[in-house]
Each structure stands twice: as structure tokens, then as C-alpha cells.
Amino acid sequence: MASLLQPDRVLYLVHGEKKIRSSLSTLYFCRYCSELRSLECVSHEVDSHYCPSCLENMPSAEAKLKKNRCANCFDCPCCMHTLSTRATNIPAPLPDDPSKTAMKKAYYLACGFCRWTSRDVGMADKSVASGGWQEPDNPHTQRINKLIEYYQQLAQREKLERDRKKLARRRPYMPLAFSQHTIHVVEKYGLGTRLQRQRPGAPITSLAGLSLKEGEDQKEINIEPAQALDEVEPLPEDYYTRPINLPEVTSLRQRLLQPDFQPAGASQLHPKHKHLLIKRSLRCRKCEHNLMLYYFSVRIMSIPNLRFQKECQVLLTLTNPVESITHVTLVGCEEGDPEDINSTAKVMVPTKELVLAGKDAAADYDELAEPQDFQDDPDVVAFRKSNKIGFFIKVVPQREEDGDVTVSFKIRHDFRNLAAPIRPSEEDDAPTEAIWLTHHVELSLGPLVA
């Protein structure tokens, strides 16, 4: 794997549409295809919505209704920070006795970062802590809805025309009796009866049951076309000479946060509800199953000084995250390997198979556990600690140039697919079979030391 600040030191090769090399922290594993997948070759889907400030999970139907905005949290229109609700006590007359005044709580919104308050835009204080704040409506909503209705009527007509044309074309191919489809169309729209009657010789036996829908008045929605104006209001005379109060003029970003209004003056900037974030779920494109994080990791432990053409030993660690014993073989890349394009050093990997013990969660607490005996070759294996193993590889930098020394090799290990469904089999098969996976790994070992 890689350390937090240097994510690209150990790269794995992914065979997708493009060959991508990236660190294990950004890769996923499809256990049905048994292949590594990167973010590019998976399909992303929206899983759930949540608010980033109150962390409330919203069901997707509600999110759609609220336009993906949280009901309780607001954003400051000036600096986009989250607003907090503050309360003050104001004297207010008691409902039953107007002459006496009592302290009542009034709530307003305030930004802790830029000191903006809801009183700046003229929003009155509310008597409830949450739920009282409304966003202003777009004044053009009615007109736009009318336009949409009018065009929907036109669209319906076009669809009818299109269906009618399809029908007309199909007539030579169709039997005399009308198909279910035609009757359905006719029943639904009523105009069909008129059409059928106009064509001479059309068999209308199947339509005898339908009543004449000619009298039915389809409500025609007519729209007033927009009126154009002769004159446009000019800028006021003092616009040219009055000094600008720059904090009062909104910046582009502030304006564009409110697409419906885009106010030029800061006194019209109303707060908006906070936008939600989503959790994504990733699916393998080939088998449509969800993915899991890949776990088998190679880590670079220590690197000695790398000198040109001098052999040195690099210590690597391998961690086994599953509970069963895993066998790992390392194979160096051959000459002319098409995947081996980045390595600048020759590497000699241990030829023997390395065995890793399973992860035992109780091992830390179990003092009496006997250490497993693996008979390690001290030249190859540096240390062994529960499910971790440290081993040496020999590196000979081949090129004397600036830049990192890169080595690559293939790592081959067995993998048991524990999540595969257990199929009832006639023969006595082992429930989980081990399959061998091979990955191409590239390590970036750092620059040469002269």
C-alpha cells in the first residue's frame, strides 16, 4: 500500500478499457469477475442522500420533493458557510392581556464566519426555531407553467399525428380487423373515430361499441404570446456619478447561487437551504455486482541508499487480511513484457513461495498462543509478525538519471471467494475453491543517491 502522504509509491495495474496504474487506495475488487477495477471502469450510482451539516439521511423521495436540499439547515448567501439559529429575548405583548409585556424568544439566522444575519435582508424574526424560514418564490412560475401546459397540448397533437402516420403506413400489412393497439388509441383519444370514418371502406365493425366522442370538447389551452416592449428603462441619472458601496454589490458567485433571482444588491440575498451530498455505490460494469475494496497490499518498509548499478536490498512487507493461510509467489517481469514499461531497475525477487499466516483477531490477546512454525529462509524473510511478513528484494538501478527508481514485478496469490453463493453440488466439491490471481505491481523507490 502507500502511506498517507505519498499515495503513488505502489501502483497496481488494472486491465480495463485502458490500462490504468494507480494506488490500491483508489482501486476496487469485483469478486465475481475476480478482477481489479478502478474508478474509471465502474458505473457510479446514487445510493443515499444526507445533509453535510446535520448528517441527517434523507429518503430519496423526500430529497426529490425538497429539490435535494435539507429542510433545517441554511447556507449564508455571502460566504456559503452554514448558518446557525440564534435566539434573542424581545418584549412582546401577552396574547390575553395586551397591556402587559412578557419576554418572548425570537429566532434569527446568523453566520458565524462573516457576521451576516437574516435581519440584514429584512427577514423578520420567527417565533419557532426551525421550520419558519421560507425561501422566496420565483415570480415567473405561473407563466412558465402555463407555457408548459400549452406546449404539452401541442406535443400531444404531434404524438397523435405520429401515431396516425404509423397506422397509415401499416395498413397494407395488417389484417382487416384492427389490432388491439388501434382500438386502444381510438378509445383513448376519441378523435380516432372521426379519422376512421373518413376513410372509405374501412371496416368499422369492431368500433360499433364505441360512442361518438365528437361532441366532447377538448379543452384548448391558448397562450398569450409574450408582448415586446418599445422602450427599456435607462440607468438612473445619478448612476454615473454616485460612488459605489462595494460591499453592497454582490459578487458573481453570490449572484449565481440564486439562479432564479440573481440579485445585484446584497440586501436582496436570501439564504438558501443547504444542498445535500450523496453516497455513491459502485457497480462492476460487466457483472453488475457491487464492488468491494481490495485488500491485499504490498508496502514498502525501508529503502537503503540506491546507487547506480549497485545492488541493494529493499525491505517490503505483505499483509494478509483474510483468516486463512495465503500463499504468495513473486515473479519478476520478463524481457519484453508489454506491461512493463516504467521500470528503471532490475529486480531480483525471492523465488520461493511465501506463506502468510491468517489474520487472527484474538492473537493480540492470546498470550499463550504458540507461534506458528514456518521455516523461513533468513535471506528472504526478514521478520514475521502474525499475518505480516517482511521480505527482501534486490534492486539494481539500471539507469543513471533524475527521477525515481521504479521496479515492477508480478505478484501471484490465491484468493478464496467467500461471498460466492454456495451452490448445492452433486460431487463433493470444496465449498470455496481457491483461484490464483496475478497482479502487476510497480514500486517507486525514490531518487538515486550519487
Binding site: P234, L235, T250
Partner: protein, 419 residues
């Protein structure tokens, strides 16, 4: 009003409407009154401070593909928060968009995000739709250019298009030049520094500066504007410049303050209306387009001017534009050619930068025909390309599905009875 908001008739989900502009992208859902988000058309690569513009026509396909992919990914999963696979897409585009860009964009949508269908809607036509009229002369004042296209009875009169590269980009360039030349920056440690020392260090400063013309500059009316132009070109002459507006102290960040000189504030926008050697300005585009239109259409078009685009939102723009058009129409070049002298301006039910988007949203809400007018994923997979108005060799969608004609060899039986 539908009872269940968000559910279309028949249960199909509302389409996604995206207007990919050179400077800003407007995205949202069909049937709504305004875009959900207006975001800059840029992506941020990790490790790089400078953001990369998404709408570039000159980069190679690979890079464009990955830029677009990242941008659309961000649109869907950060802003729209929906699954791309479920909803049709309406893309508002300019008719002058290069085919290469369109093809790459389509490929991103179909191959990477697997959307069901894509519809490319021309922005000028959509602007007409947002008004409920059938004809109009639409002028789109955007970032890279100003493009005029007349639309008569819902059909764009393509030969009459006119364009000039006078838009937000040109204004920024002019303003930057003037600021560097004439203005100074004060900071805690020093005063009177010139501007370039700061711009190159911090891209954030560039972003702050990009708001500068919007907040401080404006467009004077005709008389004042003409006097400013005379004073500019008549160096040392008798023409006197009208009183400049006061200076502005523009804070660049917590420490630095840019002193913007007053004369810059009203003169930078004059470049939109200054006529260059060919006597072209933003106003003359309208008249040139009118001249190219058939005579019978001219009256309807001149009385239905529609101005859209972000640059048209500058204070004083519309008033000045109308005045300039009326002035120019008296010039000998146009006086004899155009009989119509009346010009009327529409005010669409949305801000000028969202009008084209709104038209697209209205069209996207027509679920009866959106499907038949879009390019579906099946069609794209079979033909591998998207139809373009300038390319006649793409087969129309109907012929692909026609049961009567001989189908191309790759096609499987696609015509099915609708239920």
C-alpha cells in the same frame, strides 16, 4: 399543475437539462422554472491550482474526453444528485459548436454514463420557446462571442446568422489591459504596486478579478457613450470626455486593495459598441441579420427581438442596444435596405443567462415527444455518430426503425408495437 411534483405523466422521470456555456454551465431538471445550479465550466485537477476550462475546441480528443467526463461526473454526483442512467438528457448548444466537440460530448454521455437518450437543442430556438411566440430575432451575448440568429415560425433562418467575438472574454481582456496600465495595488507592506506582480502568483486573484467588471462597470446611454468614444479616438482634439464616475477601491483579498480609476469603469464596455473598420458592432449584427432575411419576415423579426446571454445582463446594456440599433438604422447602409423601423424587445420570464436553459426545460417537460425527437442510445450504438445539422449523411431516426424498408445489416428488429 401535476399532483406529484417530479413525476412525469406515465411515470417517466424528468429529464436533465444542461446548458454548457464557455464560461458558466446551467444545469437542472425539465419542468422547473430555473436551473438548479449555475457553475463555472471548469474542473480542478488535484495538485494543480489553476482550473481547466472544459469547453475548449482546440485540444485533442483524449484530453477533451477526460475533461468532459470529470465535469459531467461532478454535475451528476455533486449538483444534480441523480443517476445518469435513469433520465434523458437535453443539451442546449450553440449552432456554431464544432462537430468534434459534440461527438466527444455525446460519447461521454452514452459510453461513460449510459444515459437513455440525448437531445441537442439550439439555444436560439429554445429562447423563442420560453416566450410562447413563433418568430423572433435572437441575440446571444455570451462569453466567447455574440451570435445572432433569426427564427421565423419556429424555424431558424440559418443563412442569416451573424457573429462577432465581442463577449465576456473580450471584456475581460480589455479590462485587464487597462488595469495593468493604469491602476495600482496597495497592500500592507507596499503602496502603488502595479497589478501584474500579483496576478501571476495567485489564480484566486484572477477569479476575484473576473467579478470586477460585473460589480464596478456599466454601460452608458447613447449620448454619453458616443462622447466617450469621441474623446477616446480624438486624442488631443476638442472632444471632451464626460465626467468620469468615481474611483473604486476593490479589495483583492484580505490585504491587497486595487484602486480602479473612474474612467475605466464606463469606457471598458464601449468596445461592444465601437464600430471597427468594418463598421461592425454588437448593434449592427442585428441589422445585418435582418438584411439577410427574406423581406416578408423582417417586420415580424424586428418587432420581436430577444436578447439572451450573460453579457446582456450588464447594467445599461439593453437600453443602449436599442438606442444604437435605432441610430444605425438611419445610416445610409441600412436606411434603404430596411423598410421596418420599429424595434421591440421581449423580456423573457427568466434572467437572460438562463433563458435558453428555460426553453430547454420547457421542451424537456414534453414527455410525449421528447423520446421521439432525441437520439437514443440504441441509435448511437448502431450508427456510432450523432446527427448534426451540417452533415447530411446521418440516417434519420425513423428509417432505422422502419419495418418496410430494408434494414442495414447490423440492425436487429427494432420496431415493436407500443403498448
Amino acid at each position: 399543475m401535476p399532483l406529484f411534483e417530479g413525476l412525469g405523466s406515465g411515470g417517466e422521470k424528468t429529464a436533465v437539462v444542461i446548458d454548457l456555456g464557455a464560461a458558466y454551465t446551467k444545469c437542472g431538471f425539465a419542468g422547473e422554472t430555473g436551473p438548479r445550479f449555475i457553475i463555472p465550466s471548469e474542473i480542478q485537477k488535484p495538485g494543480q491550482q489553476q482550473s481547466i476550462k472544459v469547453v475548449q475546441y482546440n485540444i485533442n480528443t483524449e484530453e477533451l474526453y477526460s475533461n468532459l467526463k470529470e465535469f459531467i461526473h461532478m454535475l451528476y454526483f455533486r449538483h444534480l444528485l441523480v443517476n445518469p442512467r435513469d433520465r434523458r438528457v437535453v443539451i442546449i448548444e450553440s449552432i456554431l459548436c464544432p462537430s468534434h466537440f459534440r461527438e466527444t460530448l455525446t460519447k461521454v454521455f452514452f459510453k461513460q454514463f449510459e444515459v437513455p437518450s440525448v437531445l441537442f437543442a439550439p439555444s436560439h430556438l429554445m429562447a423563442i420557446m420560453s416566450l410562447g411566440i413563433n418568430s423572433g430575432l435572437v441575440m446571444d451575448c455570451g462569453y466567447t462571442e455574440t451570435l445572432v440568429l433569426p427564427v421565423y415560425e419556429c424555424i431558424p433562418i440559418l443563412p442569416a446568422w451573424e457573429a462577432l467575438p465581442l463577449g465576456g472574454k473580450a471584456i475581460h481582456k480589455e479590462l485587464d489591459g487597462l488595469l495593468v496600465e493604469q491602476c495600482t495595488v496597495d497592500s500592507d507592506s507596499s503602496t502603488g504596486q502595479s497589478l501584474p506582480t500579483y496576478i501571476h502568483i495567485d489564480p484566486l486573484m484572477l477569479f476575484v478579478l473576473s467579478c470586477c467588471p460585473v460589480r464596478t462597470c456599466f454601460i452608458s446611454d447613447l449620448q454619453r457613450g458616443l462622447k466617450i468614444q469621441e474623446a477616446k479616438f480624438n486624442l488631443g482634439g476638442t472632444a471632451e470626455r464626460p465626467t468620469p464616475p468615481p474611483d473604486v477601491d476593490y479589495p483583492l483579498d484580505g490585504e491587497k486593495i486595487l484602486h480602479i480609476k473612474g474612467p475605466i469603469r464606463d469606457s471598458v464596455m464601449e468596445m461592444l459598441f465601437e464600430q471597427d473598420n468594418e463598421e461592425k458592432s454588437v448593434a449592427s449584427l442585428v441589422l445585418d441579420a435582418l438584411v439577410k432575411c427574406p423581406i416578408d419576415t423582417r417586420k415580424a423579426l424586428s418587432e420581436n427581438l430577444v436578447i439572451i446571454g450573460g453579457t446582456a445582463m450588464l447594467p445599461g446594456f439593453l437600453h443602449r442596444l436599442l438606442a444604437e440599433i435605432r441610430l444605425l438604422v438611419e445610416k445610409p447602409k441600412y436606411r434603404d435596405a430596411l423598410a421596418t423601423k420599429s424595434f421591440r424587445l421581449h423580456s423573457p420570464p427568466a434572467k437572460p443567462n438562463c433563458t435558453a436553459w428555460l426553453g430547454g426545460a420547457i421542451f424537456g417537460a414534453l414527455q410525449d415527444i421528447l423520446g421521439s425527437r432525441s437520439v437514443s442510445r440504441d441509435y448511437y450504438n448502431q450508427t456510432g455518430r450523432i446527427p448534426d445539422w451540417c452533415c447530411l449523411s446521418s440516417p434519420p431516426p425513423e428509417s432505422v426503425y422502419d419495418a418496410g424498408k430494408t434494414p442495414p445489416p447490423l440492425m436487429k428488429r427494432a420496431f415493436s408495437t407500443e403498448k
